[in-house]
Symmetry: C2
């Protein structure tokens, strides 16, 4: 099977056709029709085998995660996803791998109304690049730089589960089947908080998605906004599974230092906090601390002592990343 | 140097700031302001070391070519380039490589008014993915599928030079210095025909860029349009350098079968051919044949005999590609 056959067989995406795609896969470029009065939000992520996922990972999960990490970036901007391009490097035409990968990619894409409109498929080391395009009403994108002293800090969902899942996959811990399934699923199939991000337009002052861990990612918000923060560990939302295996999972270090949870972290002015409800956002949301006028992130433990995490988040050129 | 340092040092692109970029590099996504009444054109290409370029290639040339091949895709759509995202996989932080690559990328980007707005930089096998976004007035994109019987077929510039350059680089032929410089430059630093593509809006019925070779790429136009074509080899535009080394270069096989020239091939209704001039397009342009109602591409040589090329164009999963 050649490149054209691969695209035709696995990536034609017949199940999800958007009305605003004038020309999809098959020309020199795709042509799409943007809505007037909106701004375009653009993200791009690259996942490399044996760096971001073991080469033997279930290809369906690779497909899901490739789409999910980009959806999560759009969610953090408050954007509505629309179109994607895929740059795929494959050592050979492995039809079993392509079938699983494309099903994962498209299952996730369909859930969020995304159409694949183009890309490039070449022979090379296994690596998956995805670019995602979405929309926000003009001026309503959520940015990292809007946090101000006094803002309350929130996170969606629960933290640390993906870190626990990683330890399971690495064989560093062994859990009862149901718990291990839960943790690994949270690692392999994160839920992008797209609806939450859209609901936070006009409410959140700053937002980011937790791909590198709370300490690192909240740190990006603080640096971009020129503020500090105080976070209380005791308020961080943990799943029942994580609580059950807290020490094995790596305790607070994993909760704040491990990436891949793909929850949203955002700040809200005190006067708008009444709008931050599970009912309105469609997702569990927890207040974890406050933006301060100081510099940097201060975390305190249950005893009020300052907590210094052992790990500082995923960093792509570090060898243990 | 970590990922953030790499981006800050090499990819911040301070020299080219577009007014329509609300948020560039440094947030979860970029935010740009699309012009109303236009359609968005999206391309994505992936270049893998030792597949699309030898790992030892001058990184400046890799940067230029990465941008140029995507610009060429936009040119073939008649689009005006605007914004790019880069997904870069690097074995290590090689500052010399990054300096050369980013200079090449940005020199080319500046020439065409493109701003880099985001991307992802990770550790992995050397591979460069670029996504490029541009604009056409609504409904004016040039597509592959518009060719009709009777249309005249044109190409820009000269063909075969990149193929000759490839033979030089492979050590298969040796030429006088000036000729070898010319051919290798045509291979490593193609000129995207962006202005030509924009000038062809409303004139060309179908267009494509020559990345895989005339026979393969014109074949894509014919397949998409449901037509055939007759091309006369004697009319194909060759450079003085190519003519001088015609046999060493591989003769007509290289001219029609080798990719990487990144010229445009387009069809025009006979009534509009008067508009296809070098003065109007800013580039040498040559009529090479005619669209027919038959199926497939027929090429004839100087004696009127049917010519069957030995090579059928670059194909990404073929081992000699």
């Amino acid at each position: 099977m050649d490149e054209f056959g691969v695209i035709e067989t696995f990536f034609a995406d017949r199940a999800n056709r958007r009305d605003d795609v004038a020309v999809g896969i098959g020309d020199d470029g795709a042509v799409v029709v943007p809505p007037c009065g909106h701004h375009l939000v653009v993200t791009a992520d690259l996942l490399v085998a044996d760096r971001h996922f073991p080469a033997g990972t279930d290809p369906y999960a690779v497909g899901v995660k490739t789409m999910a990490v980009n959806l999560s970036d759009l969610a953090a901007m408050g954007a509505e996803p629309a179109w994607a391009t895929l740059t795929l490097s494959l050592p050979e035409v492995d039809e079993r791998w392509l079938d699983g990968f494309s099903r994962g990619l498209f299952d996730q894409a369909r859930d969020f109304g995304v159409q694949l409109i183009g890309g490039d498929t070449v022979k090379g080391p296994l690596a998956v690049g995805l670019q995602l395009l979405g929309w926000v009403p003009a001026g309503e994108a959520l940015l990292r730089r809007g946090a101000a002293a006094g803002d309350r800090i929130f996170v969606t969902g629960t933290l640390g589960d993906a870190g626990l899942g990683l330890r399971c996959r690495q064989g560093r811990v062994s859990l009862p089947d149901a718990d291990e399934d839960y943790a690994r699923r949270r690692l392999d199939r994160p839920t992008a908080r797209v609806a939450v991000g859209m609901a936070l337009r006009g409410i959140a002052k700053a937002a980011i998605d937790l791909s590198d861990g709370l300490a690192a990612d909240l740190g990006h918000v603080l640096a971009a906004s020129g503020v500090g923060a105080h976070v209380e560990l005791a308020r961080l939302p943990l799943s029942p599974t994580y609580r059950r295996h807290f020490a094995l999972a790596g305790g607070w270090d994993t909760v704040v230092g491990n990436g891949d949870d793909y929850e949203l972290c955002f700040t809200v002015s005190p006067r708008d906090c009444a709008a931050v409800t599970e009912a309105r956002l469609g997702c569990v949301v927890t207040e974890i601390g406050e933006i301060t006028s100081g510099a940097g992130l201060v975390m305190t433990d249950e005893a009020g002592q300052i907590f210094v995490p052992a790990a500082a988040g995923f960093e792509h050129f570090r060898d243990d990343g």
